[in-house]
């Protein structure tokens, strides 16, 4: 028995609750050995972190996927916005060009002639058709 064990044994013997009960002493000794053996085995057991690693990997993959979706979505949105703005600008430019052309066109053609023609058509009077039978009657009486 080592000196350490002797001291422990001495301590136990000095314990008033301990003395004289060999069964209790044996049971407590076995209990102590059992706890020590269990603790030593548990303390030096190999630790496996498979579950944690898998969980982390899964989360990592999901994180990456979400990140990729966000980045590609932002890029696609930006491109669409740019394309849309460019199309709008093009349409606007076309409209402006057309308006400019329309505004310039009357001045460049034979404007005065057209204006006079328009005035002529506006103020010209045609002979009322209602007088025509009377005029015909007058013409026929003159013949007779």
């Amino acid at each position: 028995m080592s000196s350490h064990e002797e001291i422990k044994a001495g301590n136990r013997a000095a314990d008033p609750d301990w003395a004289g009960d060999s069964v209790l002493e044996q049971a407590l000794g076995n209990f102590r050995q059992s706890v020590h053996a269990w603790s030593d085995a548990a303390y030096s057991r190999p630790r496996t972190a498979m579950q944690i690693v898998t969980g982390r990997g899964w989360r990592f993959a999901v994180g990456w996927a979400l990140g990729c979706v966000l980045i590609s979505g932002s890029l696609a949105g930006g491109l669409y916005e740019r394309h849309h703005l460019r199309a709008l600008a093009q349409v606007k430019a076309e409209q402006e060009a057309k308006q400019r052309q329309l505004a310039i066109q009357p001045r460049t053609g034979s404007g005065d002639e057209d204006l006079l023609a328009a005035v002529d058509t506006d103020i010209s009077r045609t002979v009322p058709a209602a007088m025509e039978p009377l005029a015909q009657l007058m013409e026929s009486s003159e013949d007779q």
Partner: protein
């Protein structure tokens, strides 16, 4: 007693040799703490394992114990041994754990605690016969059964005394109880163990 605040190394004659820089002092402190962890970790783990019968929980509480110890290492004045100080932290952590668990009883907490039969399986074979092994297992199972029926304080005192082989004065320091109270708890705990064993005889 260790004086952690000393900033100079003093020779036997009492003459100061050279001042220690803050970095060097930190390095020394870190080394000291690493030594303490290396020395006492298995014992703290064993006590927590016996108290909780849950390997994962015992490991978690051991980690927490040393984390707390590391944070407060600068305040450790060496009034008691490092083991007693660490054991006190472990006991408090264990108490907090059970208190929180009682308060959060509605939560589904998965326990990995082993049953008494499984805990009793552990026994060094030594030079025993098969019959002695069976008898020893039965005795261990009986003691576990008695330990399960003890109050928190009785169990702590019992485990510190008969598993960790601690002196009554150290147990009193670790638990914050007087030596008389420790003796009383121990006596009641032993009585219950004896009663339980008596039923098996």
């Amino acid at each position: 007693m260790r004086d952690k605040r000393a900033s100079t190394r003093v020779m036997a004659a009492g003459t100061a040799v050279k001042p220690i820089t803050a970095e060097a002092a930190e390095e020394i402190t870190a080394q000291e703490f690493a030594r303490v962890v290396e020395t006492h970790r298995p014992q703290i783990f064993r006590f927590l394992l016996a108290s909780t019968r849950d390997i994962d929980l015992a490991e978690t509480l051991t980690q927490e114990c040393f984390l707390k110890a590391h944070r407060n290492w600068a305040h450790f004045r060496g009034d008691s041994s490092a083991m007693t100080w660490l054991m006190r932290i472990a006991i408090n952590l264990q108490k907090d754990h059970w208190r929180n668990r009682r308060l959060q009883f509605w939560r589904h907490t998965q326990s990995n605690g082993v049953d008494l039969d499984e805990a009793s399986e552990w026994l060094p074979s030594g030079e025993r016969t098969a019959e002695q092994q069976i008898l020893a297992r039965e005795q261990v199972a009986t003691v576990w059964k008695a330990v399960r029926g003890l109050s928190e304080r009785q169990r702590t005192v019992f485990l510190l005394r008969y598993v960790e082989d601690q002196e009554l004065s150290d147990i009193a320091l670790s638990t914050g109880l007087s030596e008389g109270t420790v003796k009383a708890h121990l006596s009641r705990a032993l009585q219950k163990v004896r009663t339980e064993l008596g039923g098996k005889r």
